[in-house]
Amino acid sequence: MSAAALPLVSAEQLPPELHDLLNSADGAAFEQALDALVRQREQHLFRALGQLARDLHDAVRRLGNDLAQEGVPGRVADVRKHLNDVLEMSAQAAHRSIDFAERMSPEADALAQNAERVLDAVAADAPAAALARQAGSFAASCRDGLNDMVMAQSWQDLSGQRIKKVVNFIESVESSLLELVHLTGALSGREPPPVVEKISGQDEADRLLSEFGF
């Protein structure tokens, strides 16, 4: 049953002091008694609120400390970077596939044209004609296949858009976490984590290794 549906308190259910006061002609005494009652209730409320505020403060401080100690804000930034790397690498891979298709398409066209020329020049039953027909149909299916391959690269755009959404979400979580950690002062006086230097590829690895006599 909801609170709104409860019947109002009847005069008989009131504490006797209040009942007497309600029925007395002494308006000032009634006001005083009512004030005292309200103050008593407020004090309970304020004590409870104070306790809540202290608990919340402790919990936030503990959480901020834990997050800072475990390097969570930094790790979140790393995760964001990993996803951006995936985005970049997948774009490169898709471009390489399109590069390949763009390079091979003119070759397929040239093969088809050469096959046509051979068919014009030789007798229809010559062995070269059979080979030219086969080359022509191979060139045509190559063109179709290469075009399909270009279209198939749209996976990069579709998956990339989802990755971007996740990166944006992580960014907002990251800034909230940093704000929390800063608020609790957990970062003050703490050493920043060491920066891990990464190399960009095999060439740089070889250069680095050569400095050590490899």
Binding site: A91, H95, V150, S154, Q156, D157
Partner: protein, 131 residues
Amino acid sequence: MKILVVDDFSTMRRIVRNQLVELGFTNTLIQEADDGNSALTMLRAQPFDLVVTDWNMPNMTGIDLLRTIRAEASLKGLPVLMVTAENNRDQIIAAAQAGVNGYIVKPFNAATLKEKLTKIFERIAAAGAGA
């Protein structure tokens, strides 16, 4: 003929460009922009015959680009084809209400692109003949 392809993903710009060439737009100058803002700058600087745009882009989205084009006296007649992964009913309705000329949902194939482009150019030709 000049076509502007607008998409924040370079892969998709290249795919659309490839398909346009594949469909026979060989004597066409195809230019690219990576969001609505840079597209607008290009559209205001030189005349184009068609805009093929994505929806979801940073700075200025495709729908805002479309609305801006329709609101600008010198651009409002420009055909706009939307090619987007956005497939919400409300978004398609919003694009239609904003005056889009065609709407293609990604991933699309060459046949769909050809069909929508043919429709757009047929309507332009019909409007031109009627004028």
